[in-house]
Structures are given as C-alpha cells and as structure tokens.
Symmetry: C2
Subunit: 253 residues, 2 copies
C-alpha cells in the first residue's frame, strides 16, 4: 500500500517516478514465393549489436502508437496502401532492455508483395526471413537468437496470425487484390504448416458468406506444368468467418 502523499504527487509529477521509454516493435509478415516470411533487421548499434531484431523504435511526441509502428516499418521497406495492422500487446519486463526501463507496444502487420527491404538508419542489414528458419514450421535450422525479448514477440505475432486465420478473413491480407483459390489455400497451408484437402477447402471457403467474391475472370495461364486456368477471386466484405475454418485438430508445428 503506497503512501497517500506519494500517490498524490505521482498524479501530478510523474517525473518523480523513474524514467520510462516507450517504443514500438513490428512483426511484419508477408508471403514471398509461397513462403511466409518476417522482416528482421540486424542491429548496427549496441545493445545486441550484430543481433537480429524486429524493426521498431521510439514513439515520437504526439504520435499515435499505430502511426509510430507504420513509420518505423516504412523506414525499412516501401509499404503499399492497403496493409493490415493490429496491436499485439505491451511488453514491459523491467529487464527486457539493459539500458533502462523500456515498455514496447508490439504490432502485427500483414501485407502482400512487400518489396525487398532497405536498411534503416540504425540497422546494418534488413531481410525477409522465412518463418521456417525462425523456429516456426517443421524442421529448419536452429533459429537464430533475437535481440531483447523479440523472439517472444515474434512468436506471439505468428500465433496471432495463425489463430486469426481460423475465424477472420485475415488470410486475404497476405494476398494481392485478386487471387486464386489455390493461392488462398497456400496461405493457410504455409502458416498452419499442414496440408489441406483442396476440394473441401474450396467448397468451405465458398460456403462462408462474404469471404471471397468471384470476379468472373480466370488466370491468364494454367499451372506451370499444365492444368486448368483458375478462377480469380477478391476479398469480400466479411471480416469474421461464419462458419469458421478451423485448424485440423492435433496438428501444427
């Protein structure tokens, strides 16, 4: 139970408390060549110099948290106009940053066709890294350690995305404006790391009102090794899926 006077002062003089910094970190995911990848930067400055980390940085004055997340990511790669962004949560362990008390608000960002990153101001390097190489998915090399608590944040972001595929239309955020049923299925299969039954997936997606809309057009070419031309769909109005597309029970990485 704090002293009442201390609490009173705290309300009016927050400088009486130890300084706290607020940052944003971004878990940015996209699909590249059918593989889910996350954007990582290699730190050019201490602490954790040389280690891989999530893009992020300090929140500016009078800047909204989500705006800060978009700004920080925009410094690493060119963002298209239609990205999906949502908050993952706050990370504030007293020991997560060796310099001082830093509370970070993490964001999950999904988009299609993000270009190769450009190293930011304080990043030695920036790259899209397949999730498989980060310990998600089956097999893959031993995941590289990440700076700060970014491994936990990344894991939370991936799990959020995997989970929201089930009951929201989030998968379309990974795809361009027009996509095929096979492309949509690849998103689910790559993120969930399970093979899905193509025929049942097709029927199920079409049975959810507002999930996808048939454009009436077809792909210009059939599959690379032969095959019928696929119908093109675009995202529908629905944000939540009824009924949901549940992950096969018991599986996953």
């Amino acid at each position: 139970m704090p002293d009442p006077e201390e609490t009173f002062l705290a309300e009016y003089d927050p400088a009486a408390f130890p300084p706290v910094a607020v940052t944003v970190d971004v878990v940015a995911l996209t699909m590249r060549e059918g593989v889910p990848v996350a954007l990582l930067i290699r730190r050019g400055v201490p602490p954790f110099q040389g280690a891989w980390a999530l893009p992020g940085g300090f929140v500016h004055a009078d800047e909204d948290l989500a705006t800060a997340a978009l700004r920080e990511l925009g410094e690493e790669t060119r963002l298209p106009s239609d990205v999906h962004i949502e908050q993952l949560g706050g990370y504030g362990s007293p020991t997560r940053d060796p310099r001082m008390r830093v509370v970070s608000i993490a964001y999950l960002l999904l988009a299609a066709d993000l270009p190769d990153p450009r190293p930011g101001t304080d990043a030695a390097e920036a790259a899209w890294v397949p999730l498989r190489e980060l310990g998600f998915g089956t097999g893959g090399p031993t995941p590289r350690p990440l700076a700060f608590d970014h491994a936990a944040i990344l894991a939370d972001g991936v799990e959020r995305a995997r989970s929201k595929l089930e009951y929201t239309a989030l998968a379309t955020a990974f795809l361009p404006a027009e996509f095929t049923m096979a492309g949509l299925r690849e998103v689910y299969e790559a993120l969930w790391n399970v093979p899905l039954h193509a025929a049942n997936f097709h029927r199920k997606v079409l049975s959810v009102p507002g999930f996808v809309v048939d454009t009436g057009r077809l792909t210009a070419q059939g599959g690379g090794r032969g095959g019928r031309r696929a119908r093109l769909y675009r995202a529908g109005d629905a944000t939540s899926l009824h009924p949901a597309l549940l992950r096969p029970a018991g599986e996953e990485s």
Copy 2:
C-alpha cells in the same frame, strides 16, 4: 525519415524524447448474485475528478506490468489466490490524458466471489457496477461516462471475456472451485446476454474433454423452489475447448 544522429542519440539518451508515463488499468469482472459486474472507482483528484474510472495507476520501478495491475487492484479489494489475469493491450493516444503523454497497459482480471471494495488512496469511492448499467446487455440506463478512454478499455475487456468464453475454459474463472452445471450456464447467459438451451448446454459441456470434472457429489439442497439436487463439478485441465461453445449467431447485445 529521422536524422541518423538523432536516432543514434535516441538509442542512448531517451531523455531526449518528451517524457512518457506508463500506467496500468484493470478491467476486473466477477459475478455477484448472478449478475456480471465490473469494479469502478470514483476519482478523488483531477483530471476527471468525480468521474468513474477503472482502477489503475503508475507502474513502479522494477515492477512487472502484470504485477502492477495486481497491486493496483489489491489496493481496492481483497484478491483471492486464484485469479485469472491477462493483458488486454496498450492504450497510448497522445490525447488520452490531458496532463501529459501517458501510455497505459490494460489488464483483464476475472475471479469468483470478490468482496466489496475498499476505496483506494486516491479514490473517493469504489463499487461493483453491473455491466448492464454500463451499456452492456439489453436495456439498462444510459451508461455513465468514464474518465480518460476507460469506456473503450472496458468495452474491449468485456468483449474479450465474451469472446474467450467460446473457445476457452475461461467461464470457470468466474465461479468458485465447485459449481453446478446451471451455475456455469448462468455465466454464459449473463455475459452473452442470451438464453441458452439448458439440456443442450449440459450435453455440450460434458462432451468437451477436460472442461469440467464430476466431483461425484451433489448440492446440499435442491433449487429454492423445489427440484432435483444438482451435481457438483470443478474445472478440468483443458484451457481451450474442442469443440468450441459458439455464441448463437446474430444475437447478443
């Protein structure tokens, strides 16, 4: 694109950025007399003096965020040992606090049988307020305005609880260690604000492995107006429900 030197300094001298305060706010929910209620305090100091608000306060040095949330709530009411607490997210609009930049990490806390609150150090009053009086559920009076952005935080907390009833065993967090099937159903009905079919609910709950465990004992007395004695259950090992208990489509408040 910020000046590289500025960014460099920012990494080492966060005091160069405007001061930011970090607080926690708690959406505490429990059932009292079959009615879902939230804990609110009436502010004794400006800003928003006299307005109702969520319990919360500044995070102390070297204190974990969740620990701060439990400490702040413990100043208002006596907490039992087995509470459920989870993070709702960060709220950091630049204008949410008129005094200065304040980023708040909100927590959702659920427990059974929380006692009457005691006013905290800077609270003029503290009370359990039925959700119906706060704009959740059907009818009810016009909800009282809350301080800061606490109305939005409360709404997020209630929606989180409602949503997690579907696919997790969260409902048992509202109940004492041993409970009846009717008690469990009341939690769902009260939070979702829909009547549920008692017979189907009964069968469905028992069909979910690990949701509830039969103690083999019965209530001491039958229902107040007659009726068979009910079997007593306790929470099982399961945290997620397979299959899920979905909300009736289209309904809710």
